[in-house]
Amino acid sequence: METGGTHIIKRHRRHGIEAFSKDKLQKSVVAACLSAGAHHGQAELVAKHVADAVEEWLEDRPEVTSSDLRLATAKQLKKYHADAAYLYEQHRMTI
């Protein structure tokens, strides 16, 4: 599901720009929650809250970078599951 008119500018130019997808964001948050040891139900619920909050944050922003989106998502996720937020932030910084 693609929502709103926000475009995400990817970190690397060759990956270009893509429309914001709430589903995609929700799936990545669910994955981070599960990796941090959350139960499936809890992971789904947290992901829904986070995706809603991020969608609201994006409302008045026509374009954001993928790094900004990641930071905003991690900030929201921290309110519900600190360990999942940590893993979410660390994804690109592990190797």
């Binding site: 990796s35 999942a84 893993l87 660390q90 690109r92 910084m93 592990t94 190797i95």
Partner: protein, 237 residues
């Protein structure tokens, strides 16, 4: 050097190899992605085990290959010049590890090419089959080659001085000790330990790991230089 001392030296050198973090980083990511993708515990265990098996195989192959090359080049008597060059490499990379091993900023990003780091991140994300995990294990050891060259070279030089049967045992000793870090993380993930705790520990202690790896290489380089190069040169006078 007698057999016991040689094997002990190989084990000690392999422990320095074990302190390098690329394979552990990839294993942490692989564990994170497989658990996040709702794979069963059995499947997660199968993937991380295949990964460790891949890293084991590549470590064994690299040390065997280096030993074979040195055996062909020098026979069982390593010339003084080869020891001196090996010591210079060990010292140089020890200092490089102190200066460059981790990138600045948060996380545990290593001083490897960003393209290769992205490739490993993407592959760990897309790995769903044990064969892919095995290949990822092979690749992660190759990616770490720039840092493990000194430990591999010194171990190979020591191994070729051993009787042939003991060379095989030496190879196994090196491989087992060099994989200790990986085996600990494998056991932690396999037993359901939180990945965020593993990564937090790694991030909190990264400077200590960097200092100890680099420091150990520098001490090792001086030790080998004194015991092999200076002692032999003084004995020959």
């Amino acid at each position: 050097m007698d057999i016991t001392s040689s094997l002990a030296a190989v084990a000690l050198i392999a422990l320095i190899h074990a302190s390098f973090q690329l394979s552990v980083s990839v294993l942490t990511l692989l564990g994170s992605h497989t658990i996040g993708a709702r794979m069963s515990h059995k499947k997660v265990l199968s993937l991380i085990s295949s990964y460790v098996f891949g890293a084991t195989t590549m470590t064994l192959l690299i040390v065997s290959f280096a030993s074979l090359i040195f055996l062909q080049a020098f026979g069982s008597e390593v010339p003084l010049m080869a020891w001196a060059i090996a010591c210079a490499v060990v010292l140089g990379i020890g200092i490089a590890v102190w200066l460059f091993y981790y990138r600045k900023g948060a996380g545990t990003s290593l001083w490897i090419s960003r393209g290769f780091a992205r490739h490993l991140t993407t592959r760990s994300q897309k790995t769903t089959h044990p064969t892919e995990a095995f290949s990822l294990g092979l690749t992660s050891v190759i990616g770490e080659l720039v840092f493990i060259v000194p430990t591999v070279v010194l171990s190979a030089l020591i191994l070729i001085g051993l009787p042939s049967g003991w060379q095989m045992i030496g190879l196994v000793v090196y491989t087992l000790f060099s994989l200790l870090g990986l085996l600990i993380v494998w056991a932690l993930i396999g037993s359901g330990y939180s990945l965020s705790s593993i990564q937090k520990w790694r991030e909190a202690n990264k400077r200590f790991l960097q200092f100890s790896s680099g420091g150990a290489l520098i001490v090792l380089g001086f030790f080998v230089y004194v015991t092999r190069v200076i002692a032999e040169a003084a004995g020959a006078m």
